[in-house]
């Protein structure tokens, strides 16, 4: 646990340094595209406290000054597969974003979409030293959480305290300063594959960049695409990416569950490619232009030119009706959504007070998806787009960028994590000294 603390603390210090310098890059390494945003932090003094504008959910403190997207290479299922290819793709995105921002970026905050995340709910209990809950008590209650054996070769990505209970009062966000005896904490622990983390770290390091933070893609797209009441009352964000579909469940503004289905839009494209025997880029183009999941009578009559360049006229002039295309796409989309349904059921999503489901990510742009999803996932389904942040170009406001936009919010307002609190001093001399001080305090 020590080295986890130290590595995460080092990362947080790096982020602090980046904030101090005022420029930090956001890197969303996905299966289908790599997005890089360059943020400039202006500091909190742009708006005074008595301004009616307010801080606008923390967005006023930063501005996007550079944005670039490039086709992803060498990434499968959100994990780096071909290191050199990925590195080149990251270089392309970062260079273009730097060029637009006209500033050099040294620190980067990245997100992981794949790497098979696994959620754990932990709880810990401790007696409050003294009468009032202090930072040290919170540190010790977090340290008292019994960490499950999450397996060799996995790494903790997030460990966020989601709930505190003091004696009989529960649902506290911040128990510091309150009077009580027994402090209980609930912790949400998210672990990912260590090798995937290592690979992406290596890629970023090879681009001469320093990693200043790492987040789960499902989590950050939830931050950006769920509105406040959804985060508060309970909602699931389904981020349909290229290679993976991320699931994150929010309650009381904390992520309580995250998972990823290793299927996404690329599989739909691959199905089209195989079904129509066309190359992947053509399949992708057909999918984005004519794709859909609900066929109507009109679709039987709409012929789509498939094209080709074999030189065989018969082969190159093939057409396919839109209904056929939908017939190829729909089963795969249904499969993805059903897999999501399974994961949500396994997580106990139906017990949440509100069961809002928000579909986002590039895959959510398939026409008619919300109708299909409401049949599979439940009635409360909507399509989500990311929050508007200052300076974001129009091209990057679509649902495909919810991960990147969520990372900007994450960079501006990181959630308290386990390692932000001091680990209690376990060594005997410190404790005995503290006891002596306490004895003096009590008796003098």
């Amino acid at each position: 646990m020590r080295d986890l603390y130290e590595s995460q603390r080092a990362m947080r210090n790096m982020r602090q340094a980046a904030m101090q310098r005022g420029v930090v890059a956001i890197l969303d390494v996905g299966t289908s595209k790599i997005a890089c945003l360059v943020l400039r932090f202006d500091g909190p003094d742009r708006f005074r406290e008595n301004d009616s504008v307010g801080s606008m959910a923390g967005q006023s403190s930063f501005r996007v000054i550079g944005a670039a997207t490039t086709r992803s290479r060498g990434v499968r299922f959100g994990e780096v597969e071909a290191m050199q290819e990925t590195e080149r793709a990251i270089r392309t995105a970062v260079q273009a974003a730097q060029k637009m921002a006209n500033v050099r970026v040294d620190h980067v905050i990245a997100c992981l979409s794949g790497a098979s995340p696994r959620s754990y709910g932990l709880d810990g209990e401790t007696n409050v030293e003294g009468s009032v809950v202090t930072d040290a008590d919170i540190g010790s209650v977090l340290a008292a959480c019994d960490v499950p054996d999450y397996g060799h070769g996995r790494e903790v990505l997030h460990a966020q305290p989601v709930n505190f209970a003091l004696d009989h009062r529960t649902g506290m966000a911040d128990p510091r300063g309150q009077i009580g005896n027994k402090l209980t904490a609930d912790l949400h622990l998210l672990t990912v594959d260590a090798t995937a983390v290592q690979n992406i770290l290596h890629c970023i390091k090879r681009c001469d960049l320093e990693l200043a933070g790492l987040a789960s893609s499902a989590y950050v797209s939830g931050i950006s695409s769920l509105v406040e009441d959804e985060q508060e009352l309970g909602a699931a964000c389904i981020d349909m990416g290229g290679g993976t579909t991320g699931i994150s469940v929010f309650l009381r503004k904390h992520m309580i569950y995250a998972d990823a289905v290793r299927m996404g839009g690329d599989h739909v494209t691959a199905d089209i490619s195989m079904g129509l025997s066309v190359p992947m880029p053509t399949a992708e183009r057909i999918k984005t232009f004519y794709g859909g999941v609900v066929a109507t009578g009109m679709d039987d009559r709409e012929a789509i030119e498939i094209g080709g360049d074999t030189g065989d006229w018969e082969h190159d002039r093939r057409t396919v009706s839109r209904a056929e295309l939908i017939g190829i796409m729909r089963p795969r989309v249904e499969e993805i959504l059903e897999e999501v349904r399974l994961r949500l059921d396994a997580a106990g999503f139906e017990y949440l007070p509100s069961q809002q489901i928000v579909l986002t990510g590039g895959g959510s742009q398939i026409p008619g998806l919300d109708g299909l999803a409401s049949k599979i996932l439940g009635q409360q389904v909507r399509l989500g787009r990311p929050l508007r942040v200052q300076g974001l170009p129009q091209a990057a406001t679509g649902p495909a960028f919810s991960g990147a936009v969520g990372l900007t919010l994450f960079a501006a307002h990181p959630q308290d994590e386990w390692w932000d609190f001091e680990i209690p001093a376990e060594r005997y001399p410190a404790r005995s000294f503290k006891r002596a001080v306490k004895w003096f305090k009590d008796n003098w």
């Binding site: 270089r91 730097q98 599989h267 195989m274 190359p279």
Partner: protein
């Protein structure tokens, strides 16, 4: 074969993708990426934008100047340009005007300017750039009769020397003659006889001119007997004697002579002392002022006292 096929099919997606490199991949090379990042570094950028051209400029200039012929040519060009500007008519000085000095001093100053011009090898008309006005002023001011001088080139090409002459305040008699001195004790010039300047008081004795200020105060204090004053004599470079006509002397103390003289003047005003037959009024000892009478007066006094005692 089956196993190979299943292995490939499991990876169907990337294989298909790799076989279709539809468009050129515009990834920057590692070096171009690094170069761009370097160029975006503010310090490096500034050094390239400003430092490099400056360095180049310095290098070119240095290379050019390292050739002595170039240096000489540049110096000659500068000299020509300088001459062209200096010899313009608006900078030429054509005449000399001296004001505030009497004829003798003006002649001396004219000689001085001539000597200065000879020394630097110029003659009227001369460029004002070639004139060293501060040194000229210094030399004019060094003349004994000149207290201060303003030397300037007036518009219209006139070298204007405005002289403040030293004003004589006293006549100093010394072994070799009679001189005029000013209020600072500076000797101005000789005069043939004391009677040339009867309006000025006379001082004499060693060290008299160094204490001219005190002497002037004493003369002012002796104003009631002004018409009888012959002069002040410095005795032993220490104290003053005020000499009146008829050889009458007032011996003043070293310290505070003005107060002592005031006492004498008060006595004179009250009892008309100095009109009597007194040879010396000795004020050197302030507690005991002493009168020395002339021999005839002594006899009269003794006769009178004998008569009283009878």
């Amino acid at each position: 074969m089956r196993s190979l096929m299943s292995a490939i099919l499991r990876r169907a997606v990337p294989v298909v993708r790799n076989e279709a490199p539809a468009r050129r991949d515009p990834a920057p090379t590692r070096w171009s990426y690094r170069y761009q990042r370097l160029m975006l570094t503010p310090v490096f950028r500034a050094s390239v934008r400003i430092g490099l051209p400056a360095l180049l400029l310095v290098f070119i200039a240095g290379a050019w100047f390292s050739n002595p012929a170039n240096r000489a040519a540049l110096a000659a060009q500068v000299e020509t340009a300088r001459d062209a500007i200096e010899s313009r008519p608006e900078f030429m000085v054509t005449s000399l005007s001296i004001s505030g000095a009497d004829v003798a001093v003006a002649g001396a100053i004219k000689d001085l300017v001539g000597a200065e011009f000879d020394a630097i090898g110029v003659a009227f008309p001369v460029s004002s750039f070639n004139l060293d006005l501060p040194s000229l002023r210094e030399r004019v001011t060094k003349l004994t009769a000149v207290e201060d001088a303003v030397v300037r080139v007036k518009p219209g090409g006139t070298l204007d020397i405005v002289v403040t002459e030293r004003r004589p305040v006293a006549v100093w008699r010394h072994v070799d003659g009679v001189r005029l001195i000013d209020h600072e004790g500076e000797m101005i010039g000789m005069i043939a006889a004391r009677s040339d300047r009867p309006d000025l008081p006379l001082i004499a004795g060693d060290g008299a001119k160094d204490r001219i200020g005190e002497a002037l105060v004493l003369f002012a204090a002796a104003a009631p007997v002004q018409d009888r004053i012959r002069g002040l004599v410095r005795m032993g470079e220490r104290r003053w004697d005020l000499v009146l006509d008829g050889g009458q002397r007032i011996l003043l103390p070293t310290d505070n002579p003005v107060a002592a003289l005031d006492r004498v003047m008060a006595l004179h005003a009250a009892q008309d002392m100095l009109r009597r037959d007194v040879a010396v009024v000795d004020m050197r000892n302030g507690n005991r002022p002493t009168l020395r009478l002339n021999p005839m007066a002594v006899g009269v006094l003794q006769g009178a006292s004998a008569r009283i005692s009878q």
